[in-house]
């Protein structure tokens, strides 16, 4: 029984069957990659996990509880954090403030006003946030505007924000898309380090085989909205069906 | 700290403190400086002309302002003297008011009660105006009138036609020369009965706000007294521009008269639309379909263009009147500006003169003295025949004009022709008439 159990999920957009019959089980404390050619339905599937989309059929269970019908913030509170394809951070806020928000969320739950307590008195939150920033090697950037950082740093910040919530499942949507090689490698190292330090399950959607094979412990290949194979990286590498799917697309 | 209710800039403006030492701060006290708000102590007196300068009534406001400028000129002895020569009271000498030169400040009411009050307040507080006058709608008149009552200055209403101004919202410090909804109804009804017969079915379109309500009520009750039947009344929003959906149902009703209780842009559009729908050419119940516009103004007639031809309405005054007062006013206004004055200009001009005359006769600028001088004042030579400023409600009682859109206008100003001058007796009502019920004048407030 995995921490994330996907059964029979199907989703249709008008005339397009985006997902059909998806079955998937992500085991606890593993890195599970979902790969597939463009348009295979990877992002659609991910959106079904976080409440952004509701599948037409099937179920998505996290730790024995259904996530369907819950709003994104409720799903997050269950212990799922998501990293987006383009880093989604609070661009108008400073790096430190970016980090403080998940810390508040962790402490106060969904909604607390705190309208009259000044930032200065929030020592514990600031300390926590600073601590995470140090972990992420970003302490020197704490007063920068988040929007003015490099893409790699934004990604790092976003991952840090997700981690500060201590999620049980971290969803990564093409975390290295559009990154330079050096940034990609940094991100891989960061993820490896995270995996080493914590008990955390990571589900990663990725296009870049280099990233996938550096990190994943299990891989599911998605093609035309349905899982093709699921296996270890070694076995996937030479799998004929996978080659067909990829070559078919590139031809 | 000393107390004063409103400031009296006039005191300093006129140079009374010219010699005061720079080093020693002087704190004025209200009681020692003056007996009432903005008492003029120097050689001049400031009047506040509060007219719409922006918004849909800006042109009417501009005409009011022209009239005021002319009035100030005449009061100060300039120009040909205008109505000062025909006015029955001879207290004014052409040397200002009580020997003080008349100065004025202007403001923009924007035809909004808030803005109008802000503008009036600034005239009272900043410029030391002793009297506020002007305006082109009843909402503004009522709001500014209440303000003047509070501040202790006189308010001489400009164009305001709602019964409420001298009815439920009357104030001791406020005076209205313009006629009102009741008078329109009373003057129109006999003329209408005469022209269109007493067996008529009327359909009212009424602007959905206070003035509309009082006008509809007045016209209804006086036409119904003549035997007309009211078959429908519909309220239309102030912000309406296209009245087609209100006009079309008239076709389905068995009404043979349409009464448009609209003013300004509403009236221009509703009349234009009514004519578009061919109502003028219609035959209903074997009679010609007719349209009536209770309150006419030349500017509105101009906006509606050829559509006004032959349509009855009432008006306070018209430049084609041939009495001496009207002729004198038209002469001096026309000479100065090149076109004849509107009824708004006329009422404003007359109000300014009446105020000055009242001060002169009272021998004091004190608002309470002025109120006393105006209450029950009878005068003539101002264009509407013998007129009474009634003490009970501060409303002028005078002849009312019933007019009709002219078939062959000779110029863009010659749009209306006078059908009848309704004598004052016919439009007079008791102060406690139900259409004016509620409210009380209170007592005059001199401020300070």
């Amino acid at each position: 029984m995995g921490i994330l159990e996907v059964k029979n999920v199907g989703k249709r957009f008008g005339g397009l069957q985006a997902l059909s019959n998806v079955n998937l089980s992500v085991a606890e404390n593993t890195v599970h990659a979902i790969i597939g050619p463009n348009g295979a339905g990877k992002s659609t599937l991910l959106n079904c996990f976080v409440g952004k989309l509701i599948p037409d059929t099937g179920s998505v269970m996290f730790d024995g509880q259904s996530v369907l019908g819950r709003s994104p913030h409720e799903i997050n509170q269950m212990g799922i954090s998501r990293v987006f394809q383009t880093p989604e951070i609070f661009g108008d806020l400073t790096v430190l403030e970016n980090m403080m928000i998940p810390c508040f969320a962790k402490r106060d739950g969904s909604f607390e006003l705190n309208a009259l307590s000044g930032v200065m008195s929030q020592k514990d939150i600031i300390e926590r946030a600073e601590h995470v920033l140090e972990d992420m090697n970003m302490a020197d950037k704490r007063h920068m505007h988040a929007a003015s950082m490099s893409r790699g740093d934004k990604r790092r910040l976003e991952i840090g924000m997700c981690l500060s919530q201590e999620p049980r499942l971290l969803l990564l949507d093409e975390p290295t898309a559009g990154m330079a090689r050096a940034d990609t490698n940094n991100t891989i190292d960061l993820l490896k380090e995270i995996k080493e330090k914590r008990d955390i399950t990571i589900a990663i959607i990725e296009h870049d085989m280099h990233v996938v094979f550096s990190l994943a412990e299990r891989i599911t290949v998605l093609a035309q909205g349905t899982p093709l194979v699921e296996d270890t990286p070694e076995n996937i590498k030479g799998h004929p069906k996978v080659r067909e799917a990829y070559l078919g697309e590139s031809a | 700290m000393s107390k004063s209710n409103v400031t009296r800039r006039g005191v300093l403006r006129t140079g009374a403190v010219a010699g005061a030492g720079l080093a020693v701060p002087t704190i004025f006290t209200a009681s020692s400086a003056s007996a009432f708000t903005n008492e003029p102590t120097g050689s001049s007196v400031t009047l506040g002309f509060n007219v719409p300068q922006t918004g849909p009534y800006a042109d009417e406001g501009a005409d009011e302002l022209r009239a005021y400028e002319l009035a100030v000129e005449h009061l100060n002895g300039g120009g040909d003297g205008g109505m000062l020569n025909t006015f029955s009271s001879k207290a004014l000498q052409g040397n200002g008011i009580m020997g003080k030169k008349v100065e004025y400040v202007t403001g923009d009411t924007q035809t909004k009660s808030d803005a109008a009050r802000a503008s009036a307040k600034s005239m009272i507080e900043k410029d030391g105006a002793i009297m506020i006058t002007g305006g082109s709608s009843s909402g503004v008149a009522v709001a500014v009138q209440a303000l003047c009552q509070e501040a202790g200055v006189i308010f001489m209403a400009g164009l305001t036609h709602s019964n409420d101004t001298t009815g439920k919202d009357k104030r001791a410090n406020g005076f209205r020369h313009f006629f009102n909804s009741y008078m329109s109804g009373a003057a129109l009804a006999p003329v209408l009965a005469n022209a269109y017969g007493t067996d008529r079915k009327a359909y009212h379109l009424t602007a959905d706000y206070n003035w509309g309500y009082t006008t509809e009520e007045a016209v209804r009750s006086s036409t119904e007294a003549m035997g007309w039947e009211t078959v429908g009344t519909v309220l239309t929003p102030l912000t309406q521009t296209d009245f087609s959906s209100y006009i079309a149902p008239v076709l389905q009703s068995d009404a043979d008269v349409l009464v448009l209780n609209h003013y300004g842009g509403n009236m221009v559009n509703s009349l234009t639309n009514a004519v578009q729908f061919g109502l003028r050419d219609r035959m209903v119940n074997g009679k010609n379909f007719e349209i009536v516009v209770p309150l006419y103004s030349r500017l509105m007639a101009k906006g509606a263009g050829a559509n006004v031809k032959g349509i009855f309405g009432s008006t306070n005054w018209h430049w084609s009147l041939q009495d001496e007062g009207s002729k004198a006013f038209v002469q001096s206004f026309g000479t100065k500006y090149g076109f004849p004055p509107s009824q708004a200009a006329h009422t404003c001009y007359v109000q300014a003169l009446l105020y000055a005359d009242a001060v002169e006769r009272a021998g004091s600028f004190n608002p309470c003295a002025v109120v006393e001088a105006l209450e029950g004042f009878e005068f003539d030579g101002m264009g509407n025949g013998p007129t009474l400023y009634r003490a009970e409600d501060h409303q002028c009682f005078k002849d009312v004009l019933v007019v009709k859109g002219k078939e062959n206008p000779s110029s863009e100003f010659d749009l209306l022709e006078i059908v009848e001058v309704t004598p004052v007796e016919q439009v007079t009502y008791a102060p406690d008439h139900p259409q004016f019920a509620g409210g009380a004048l209170g007592t005059c407030n001199a401020g300070a």
């Binding site: 709003s71 994104p72 913030h73 997050n76 509170q77 954090s81 989604e88 609070f90 108008d92 806020l93 403030e97 928000i101 508040f104 969320a105 909604f111 607390e112 309208a115 009259l116 307590s117 000044g118 930032v119 200065m120 939150i125 924000m161 | 700290m1 107390k3 004063s4 209710n5 400031t7 300093l12 140079g15 005061a20 030492g21 701060p25 002087t26 704190i27 300068q53 403001g107 923009d108 909004k112 009660s113 808030d114 803005a115 802000a118 503008s119 307040k121 600034s122 507080e125 900043k126 009843s138 909402g139 709001a143 209440a146 959905d208 706000y209 206070n210 309500y213 102030l238 209170g442 407030n445």
Partner: protein, 400 residues
């Protein structure tokens, strides 16, 4: 001080000083000079400055922080003033119950409208708020006339009950709003040579309330709540995926800013006991949007500056007429004088709207951050001379 950091304390003290000394600062010209026309230090306008300042501060809490552009905020101001005037009619002329009720009623009204409107975002939210406000205006002007006074506005009458305190003054007039006997319209005057300064009780009451309102707004800006609101503006999606539901935050901001509007409405009625329906018309809502953007949305002091600017234009520029122009330019040769008058004339008096439109355009074209940015540029210019290029650019404070 007061739980604020040093910069904010300084800002608050500066604003307090400016507000306290406004009667001097706004009357810089001697009474008899030609420039006295530009003096703005008379009670009504000073009151308007601070009241609209409160309105704009409140609006900025919603728009500046969350980015939700409400186009119907004037409705809350209108409702607040109706509530206050009704208090004057029914209860007493003391302004405290009137203001309290104004704030409460506006808050409830905002809760209702906000609850519905905040189901949508972006322009759809703007149009929903606009629709609610326009409905309020239309109904208040027409069918609700018995409650609102309609066209003429809701005003006091001699026969109002006023169960506490006097119903009619000894002189037979309607009493005026007061605070435990201090009449709002009372003023003291100080003449210093040719200068005349007016100190009005109503103004100082408004000023103190505005300072409190400003202080609360600083606290909100600097609080975790304020940070959440800024996070909503910055990236609502991330906030949701961080386990936070943005709706309660936006609704709280909406209600708070509605209560600010109600406070402004209540104060307006307390200074001048009349409530007109035009207060709720869409142009009035648009005005507060313009004030905020003109001053600098999302900054603390910007909305106050914007409010002052627009009210100054409305009350001072609109009163300049041709006669005054001729007085100004009398020293010129005749031909030149007439030429100058005819050049300037379209922009003043009845042309004040034109000037206002031009200013909107100039500010937004050249100072995208509003008047505050203008101030910053000037400050940077002087600072730049001293400390050449010590810091470079990246120091734009998010909320200053």
């Amino acid at each position: 001080m007061f739980g604020l950091d040093k910069r904010d304390t300084t800002l608050l003290l500066i604003v307090a000083a400016l507000v306290a000394l406004a009667p001097f600062l706004l009357n810089p010209f001697p009474e008899n000079s030609d420039l006295a026309q530009f003096n703005a230090g008379y009670p009504d306008l000073m009151q308007r400055f601070v009241i609209f300042g409160i309105f704009a501060i409140g609006f900025n809490i919603l728009f500046g922080l969350t980015g939700y552009l409400s186009f119907g905020h004037a409705a809350f101001l209108g409702v607040g003033s109706y509530a206050a005037v009704w208090m004057f009619k029914l209860l007493s002329m003391n302004i405290i119950p009137a203001i309290v009720l104004a704030v409460i009623v506006a808050g409830v009204f905002a809760l209702l409208i906000g609850f519905i409107s905040l189901r949508r975002s972006g322009i759809y939210f703007s149009i929903l708020t606009l629709a609610f406000a326009q409905m309020s205006f239309a109904l208040a002007y027409s069918v609700l006339t018995p409650i609102t006074g309609g066209e003429t506005g809701l005003q006091l009458a001699l026969d109002d009950p006023r169960i506490i305190g006097q119903q009619v003054t000894e002189g037979g007039n309607i009493p005026v709003p007061s605070l435990f006997g201090l009449e709002m319209r009372d003023s003291a005057e100080l003449a210093l040579g040719p200068w005349l300064f007016t100190f009005n009780i109503g103004y100082y009451v408004c000023a103190i309330i505005m300072l409190i309102a400003f202080y609360i707004s600083i606290r909100i800006f600097r609080s975790p709540f304020g940070m959440m609101l800024r996070a909503i503006k910055s990236n609502q999606q991330r906030l949701n995926y961080t386990g936070l539901n943005s709706r309660p935050y936006t609704l709280a901001a909406f209600v708070i800013s509605g209560m600010y509007a109600g406070l402004a409405g209540g104060l307006m009625a307390s200074m001048d006991p009349l409530a007109g329906a035009e207060r709720m018309f869409w142009t009035a809502s648009g005005e507060v949007v313009l004030m905020t953007i003109l001053g600098g949305a999302g900054t603390l002091i910007g909305p106050i500056l914007g409010a002052g600017m627009i009210k100054y234009m409305e009350n001072i520029i609109s009163k300049i007429n041709k006669t005054i122009l001729h007085e100004w330019f009398y020293w010129m040769p005749d031909g030149l004088e007439d030429a100058m008058v005819s050049i300037v004339y379209p922009f003043i008096g009845k042309g004040w709207h034109l000037t206002l439109g031009i200013i909107f355009m100039l500010v937004v074209i050249f100072l995208p951050g509003g008047l505050v940015e203008g101030g910053q540029r000037i400050a940077n210019f002087f600072r730049g001379r001293k400390a050449a290029k010590q810091e470079g650019k990246g120091t734009t404070e998010p909320a200053e």
